[in-house]
Structures are given as C-alpha cells and as structure tokens.
C-alpha cells in the first residue's frame, strides 16, 4: 500500500529478498504506475547502495578501481555489504581476497555466481597479517560472537581479524582501510588517526551517492 502514498520506496529489512518482493507490489492502486524500490539492505543477502558508495570511495581516494587489490575481511557469510561488494569489485576488474574464519567465509552461492558473471576467482586467507602488505583496499567488517556455536572457537580466531597500528605498519603507504560502520572492536581507535583510514569519509560519501541514486531513479535530473 505504501506505493499509493509515495514516489519512491527505500526498504531495509531483516529478511533476504524483501526488497525484491516489495518491488512486485509497488504499484499505485489508482493509476497502475510503478513505484521504484531501492534496496537499503535485505537480511543477509545484499546491500547494493553501500557498494555504490564503497566503489565511489575507492575511486575517489585511489583514482581507479581496475587492477586494485581489495581484501574483504570479517563476517563474509552473513555480512550483506561484502556480498554486494564482491560483485561490485569483480564487475570493475578488482583483484579480490577473502579473509575470514572458515565458519564465516563467503557463501558458495555468491562465489559460484561471481565466477559465472565475471570469471573471478577470489583468493582465501586466514588472517589480516597474511595479506595486509599486498592490498590497496582493506575492507573490514565486524565478526559477531553469536555467529560461533562455541565461544572458545570465536576467541581462537577473533584476534586474527582485528586491525591495529602495528599491523598498519605492514601496509602500503598508499592504501585505504574501509568499514561499512558501525564498528565494534575490529578496528582499534588508534587506527582512526592514520591517514589511510577512510571509513569516516566513506560513510559521508553515502550522502551524495544515495542522493544521486534517488535523483536518477526519480528521473529529476
């Protein structure tokens, strides 16, 4: 019914596929006019507008996308931002590494699809330390304790996915650290002062990107 009240629907939902389903019903009852639906994040599935601002941030900070090496770190199983970014990064010719404990690695369905669409085979790593010196973009996400059936399993792996100043010493001079926010303890506050920490700029970039998307969808520009 919201289609009858509005010109554009932005939906953020806890279930996978909610935006797609909403789009099937977003028709004005009187005129039959289709009301566009923007996916603002659906369950564990996708977060496409986050990926738009992520790619914009990389391009803005590093001047290009193609050929850059991006590492997606953290909860890649349930984290929807990394699912969308996997496809976005592949689409623009980035080299991709996936850094996560085995229990929360990227779902097979996304790996199969990204291979089909872009012939991309990401590399797998078990810790930030393994990869940090080689990447242009370190994309951090939160690992939630509750994803692990056994708290001891969590404790065993959690430290390998926390970024601190010491690890940043191993990173390239010209690289950026990103995070979809909010963060908890996976990036130590000491890293915030590092000029390579781009996550606050990244968050701010969400404003013009989402504004541009809404303008485009509403065809007002």
């Amino acid at each position: 019914m919201y289609a009858g009240y509005s010109d554009l629907i932005v939906i953020r939902h806890s279930k996978d596929g909610a935006a797609r389903l909403a789009s099937e019903y977003s028709i004005k009852p009187n005129t039959g006019e289709i009301v566009p639906v923007i996916n603002g994040g659906d369950g564990q599935n996708q977060h496409p507008t986050q990926t738009m601002l992520d790619l914009y941030t990389i391009e803005k900070e590093l001047g290009k996308l193609k050929g850059l090496h991006i590492a997606l770190v953290g909860d890649l199983k349930y984290g929807r931002t990394t699912h969308s970014l996997l496809f976005g990064a592949a689409m623009f010719g980035m080299e991709i590494s996936l850094v996560a404990p085995q229990q929360i690695q990227m779902p097979e369905k996304h790996l199969v699809k990204v291979k089909e669409l872009y012939d991309v085979n990401p590399k797998f790593h078990n810790s930030i330390e393994d990869i940090i010196s080689d990447v242009d973009v370190l994309y951090m996400t939160r690992i939630q304790k509750e994803r692990f059936p056994d708290i001891n399993e969590y404790r065993k792996v959690a430290n390998a996915f926390v970024l601190n100043s010491k690890l940043m010493e191993l990173a390239k001079e010209k690289m950026i650290v990103m995070h979809p926010l909010p963060r908890t303890n996976e990036i130590k506050p000491e890293v915030d002062k590092d000029k390579r920490a781009a996550y606050f700029k990244q968050a701010e970039n969400g404003v013009p990107i989402r504004r541009a998307l809404m303008y485009k969808v509403l065809e007002v520009v």
Partner: protein, 168 residues
C-alpha cells in the same frame, strides 16, 4: 510393462513410468491424490510399483492410476512439478485399455509455489512475528543436471534438494 510385474492393465487412467526408485509416493503427493489417509475417499485405483527392475534404469518406480478422464488434465496440470522428480518420467495416457498419448514432463523456466526455499532467512519463509506467507519463485539456472535459484535470496538447489523441499 515387464510380464513379471503381474499387474493388470488399466482401462482408463494414467501410468507414470520411469519414475526414479522410491519416488512414486512423491508423485502421488504432487498429484494431490490420497495415499495414506483412508478418510480421503477416492474413486481412483492407485497402484504404486516400487523399485522394480528396469532395462534402461536398473531400478524404477511405476505409478498406475485408474479412474476417469479427469486424470488426464490433472496430470498435465501437474506435469511441471512431476518434472522436478525427473524429466525422464514417461506419462502414458490410457483410454479403452490402450496408450493414446505419451509424453515427458518439462521443468518450467519459472517454478512458482512448488518448492520451499530452504534458506531460513528467505522472505518466502514465514517470520516468527508475521503471518504473511509468500509464494516461492525459482528460476532454472541449468537443466542438465537440474539446478534452480530462488529469485529472492539466490539460494541454489540441485535435484536432491529440490525433492527434499517440494511443496506437497
């Protein structure tokens, strides 16, 4: 029909031949015919033959349903769902003791409301708080071997998972 089966011919009805072994009950469920509830009376005679020898398949099931001509349209309507069991199934239409038509079922490109999505967080699975129950929709990604994908959460299912999640 191999002679050793010793099951009589039917006058009018449908014979589903070349069912994979132990899938005849699933086929009955798809057709919505009573198979385990005496209270659901039916005029149909249902003869499931399970795990019989087959030259081409090694083992197979056969399902004979004797009744009226209504069965022809019922089976045709459900043939898309039957194809999810196997597209090798041979559907024989029987009139006056003779096979008057035979065809294989085809998996439709869009599979709507036939298979549950096993992903617990898919929008098509009822939420704890809500009463909405939306029809599932899958697209065929690959036909040989069969693979389908939920259009909402992108979960992919192969044949065995499809059968485990059939809505019957």
């Amino acid at each position: 029909m191999p002679e050793e089966l010793k099951v009589r011919k039917i006058e009018c009805g449908v014979v589903l031949d070349k069912l994979p072994p132990f899938t005849s009950i699933t086929a009955l469920k798809i057709l919505g015919l009573p198979y385990n509830r005496p209270e659901n009376s039916s005029e149909y005679v249902i003869i499931p033959l399970m795990n019989v020898e087959s030259k081409s398949m090694g083992r197979k099931d056969i399902l004979k349903i004797e009744g009226s001509r209504d069965l022809f349209s019922l089976v045709e309507k459900k043939s898309g769902a039957l194809a999810l069991i196997s597209e090798e199934i041979m559907i024989n239409i029987i009139e006056d003791w003779k096979v008057v038509q035979k065809y294989h079922p085809n998996v439709p490109n869009h599979i709507i409301g036939l298979v549950n999505c096993p992903h617990y967080n898919c929008i098509t699975n009822k939420s704890k708080e809500g009463n909405d129950n939306y029809s599932t929709k899958f697209e065929v990604i690959q036909r040989m071997p069969l693979e389908i994908e939920c259009i909402y959460c992108h979960t992919r299912l192969k044949r065995r998972e499809i059968l485990e999640n059939l809505i019957v």
